[in-house]
């Protein structure tokens, strides 16, 4: 195996189902060790792309390589997967399910049993190892499912909406482990439609919509390209001062906070001045890069314009 090969390399990959094009000429490079975000709205083709990477589906066209290799069973064993739709055999014992899934990835049973116990202990559900999956709470089942994705020590970990349905405490635990894996040099693909989550964690991203790549690259570079054209405001008082179309192109109200997208070349200080003139008290005023969500919406609407 070439050491420097990309963890994932897709060239012009397409997949059709009858008349529906799920993925169209997608090209993608994910470096080894990256924490990569695959983003897009529901139905954009994220899951189809992941399934092709995992050899569940075969691309109709294009070339797809994992760690520089064509997809084979041994490559499949290098991948760990947490699907968006979670579920385990409800009537099997927790540890037995883990051992079964690990043995499908080529881990000897005794070793899988040992590692499974260690993981269950670490996630504080060690006492449930001999219980049936059915007896576990939803949150506990999610933890077991996460263990199933990492038990065989994958080199590429694919997490599809990993935080969906998790309470804040469990989400923090999963996030911590995910970052720990990243530190160990494991390539992590995080697939989500929740842009703000990915924005905080991922170094590079690929945004897809309707089966096509909208943009990709390092997140910082993407954002810099757009420049600091957004003002984030927190204030108390009358919001009427924000009605200044010559400066503000678009307003996003999030309750207590407001994000104002500036017109190209507009002076942000004018907003501050208007607020002071009207006696509105400003608690926060920050000039920043646009959130990923806005970049996405802009890109997609431009395409359709």
């Amino acid at each position: 195996m070439e050491d420097k090969a990309d963890a994932v390399m897709a060239a012009d990959v397409s997949k059709h189902f009858d008349s529906v094009t799920a993925v169209h000429k997608l090209s993608l490079r994910i470096q080894q060790g990256a924490l990569f975000g695959l983003l897009g709205p529901n139905g954009a083709g994220k899951t189809t792309t992941l399934r092709m990477i995992m050899r569940v589906l075969a691309p109709d066209h294009g070339d797809l390589r994992i760690f520089g290799q064509a997809l084979t069973e041994s490559v499949q064993n290098l991948i760990g997967y947490l699907p968006e739709e979670r579920g385990l055999y409800p009537r099997m014992k927790v540890l037995d399910v883990l051992v079964f899934l690990a043995s499908l990835k080529g881990v000897p049973e005794a070793e899988a049993r040992e590692r499974g116990r260690a993981w269950l202990d670490r996630l504080e559900i060690g006492g449930w190892a001999a219980r049936k999956v059915n007896d576990l709470s939803k949150g506990m089942q999610q933890k077991v499912q996460f263990i199933a994705a990492v038990l065989h020590r994958p080199r590429l970990l694919i997490l599809d909406e990993p935080f969906a349905g998790l309470d804040p405490v469990n989400a923090a635990v999963i996030k911590e482990i995910m970052l720990e894996m990243h530190d160990q040099g494991i390539t992590v693909i995080l697939s989500s439609h929740r842009m703000e989550q990915v924005e905080m964690m991922c170094e590079s991203i690929c945004l897809i919509n309707a089966g096509e790549k909208v943009l990709d690259g390092e997140l910082r570079a993407i954002k810099q390209e757009y420049g600091k054209n957004t003002v984030r405001l927190e204030y108390s008082g009358d919001g009427a001062f924000l009605e200044m179309p010559e400066v503000i192109e678009k307003l996003n109200r999030h309750g207590a906070a407001v994000e104002a997208k500036l017109r190209p070349g507009a002076d942000a200080q004018k907003i501050l001045k208007a607020a002071v003139d009207r006696g509105v008290s400003i608690r926060r005023f920050e000039l920043m890069e646009p959130p990923l969500n806005d970049i996405f919406i802009e890109k997609v609407s431009k395409r359709h314009a």
Binding site: R51, Y81, P83, L88, L104
Partner: protein, 425 residues
């Protein structure tokens, strides 16, 4: 170790180590054996008893002779079969006698009465009136006694005197000799019993294990377990593992039944011998070749049907949709069970031969033909060949449907859509 092995192992272990398996393996045969034992015990407790009858004879000529002939009939233990309590010759008022005899029968003072009408010589039928037809398993003794009585009276009326009519008329019952591959053996309905039993067992187990396979696939889909599985195992390995795993469960169950059934039969046979040394005893002798064919047809037939049921399980997302879509497959099985009457009646007719060649019917119908008589080897060979070819074709198609179906959720796809899946790369 190949991944297929782990799939088979899991399927097998999780099915065998369940209450359902233990119940269906132990309880079902125990229940059936219990029923049989109960019946045998009840039958032993209530031996055949002498039946009390009366005879009303409007002709006034046949009653006494019939009564004396019936009195000669013996039960297996030597007691008389019939006790004729009264013979009414020329009853003065038949209209009042009949209700009287009926009342006596109702009150169980009589087990029944034989009414010989005046026009019996010109074809009017005698009647046997009983409260419990089960106590009169055979009409033969009455028919032959009456026939003898009528012949005797007619001969007498023409001036012929016959001393020993029944010796003169004694005819032998016809014995049915069954030609088998090995030679001749007296058939007491054995071949039929074996054929019916085999058809029933084959039908039941093909249906049961087929549906088990379907549910197992469906369970992996509805629990979303499939999502992880397909990232580790090829769909074909999953499908094959599932089918083989359930097959192993089925064979385990059969093995348990065969061993315990063999032990029970050996024990039961000795019991019967001990209780009734004189009786020949009804024992079923299953030719090993028939059993071997049944096993072969069962295994291939199981693969054929399980592959189809698995495809159904993979296509749908709910038990209700599965119920609908599995109907055509189940109908093929039900069909072969219904058609087996035709095959039984004439196993060698061109209809039977044709039906037993159709792969979906062969696992049951060909086995019936083999059990009833030895069909030519080329017919067995041809039906096996067609069955194997059809099974391979069905497995190929099912695997392609399965591969697509397991990832599809939501609305039940139409048959047209399913056929389109066959072409997906």
């Amino acid at each position: 170790m190949p991944k297929l092995w782990f799939v088979v192992k899991r399927e097998y272990l999780t099915r065998v180590a369940t209450k359902g398996f233990i119940i269906s393996t132990v309880a079902i045969p125990l229940f059936i054996i219990g029923l049989i034992v109960f019946q045998v015990m009840m039958a032993a407790r209530q031996p055949l008893h002498t039946l009390r009858i009366s005879i009303a004879d409007e002709t006034g000529q046949l009653g006494e002779i019939t009564a004396s002939l019936l009195a000669k009939q013996k039960l297996p233990d030597g007691r008389p079969a019939f006790l004729v309590s009264h013979v009414y010759e020329h009853p003065p008022s038949p209209e009042s006698l009949r209700p009287k005899l009926t009342t006596m029968t109702r009150r169980q003072q009589l087990d029944g009465y034989l009414w010989i009408p005046s026009g019996v010589a010109s074809g009017q039928k005698p009647e046997l009136v009983v409260a419990n037809p089960g106590a009169f398993p055979m009409l033969d003794p009455f028919t032959s006694a009456l026939r003898e009585a009528m012949i005797a009276t007619r001969l007498k009326s023409q001036g012929v005197r016959v001393e020993n009519l029944s010796t003169l008329l004694r005819a032998s019952g016809v014995r049915l000799i069954h030609l088998t591959g090995k030679g001749e053996s007296e058939d007491r309905g054995q071949a039929f019993v074996i054929a019916i039993a085999m058809a029933t067992v084959l039908y039941g187990s093909l249906l049961m294990y087929g549906l088990t396979t379907m549910r197992s696939v469906l369970e992996e889909k509805t629990t979303r377990m499939m999502e992880i599985l397909v990232s580790s195992v090829r769909p074909f390995e999953l499908l094959a593992g599932k089918i083989l795993g359930v097959a192993a469960v089925g064979l385990t169950q059969f093995l348990i039944w065969a061993i315990s059934g063999g032990l029970l039969a050996a024990y039961g046979f000795r019991m019967v011998r001990g209780a009734n040394p004189a009786g020949s005893g009804f024992h079923i002798d299953l030719p090993p070749a028939v059993l071997a064919y049944a096993v072969i047809y069962f295994i291939i037939g199981y693969f054929l049907f399980a592959a189809m049921y698995a495809a159904v399980g993979s296509v749908v997302s709910s038990e209700q949709d599965a119920q609908q879509l599995q109907m055509p497959i189940t109908l093929l099985l039900v069909g072969s069970y219904i058609l087996f009457g035709i095959v039984m009646r004439d196993p060698n007719s061109s209809v039977s031969v044709t039906l037993s060649m159709i792969p979906f019917f062969a696992p049951i119908l060909m086995v019936i033909r083999i059990a009833l008589e030895a069909p030519p080897l080329w017919q067995i060979g041809l039906s096996l060949l067609l069955l194997v070819l059809a099974t391979l074709g069905v497995i190929y198609a099912s695997a392609r449907v399965y591969r697509v179906g397991i990832l599809m959720y939501g609305k039940k796809p139409s048959l047209v859509e399913i056929f389109r899946w066959l072409r997906y790369s």
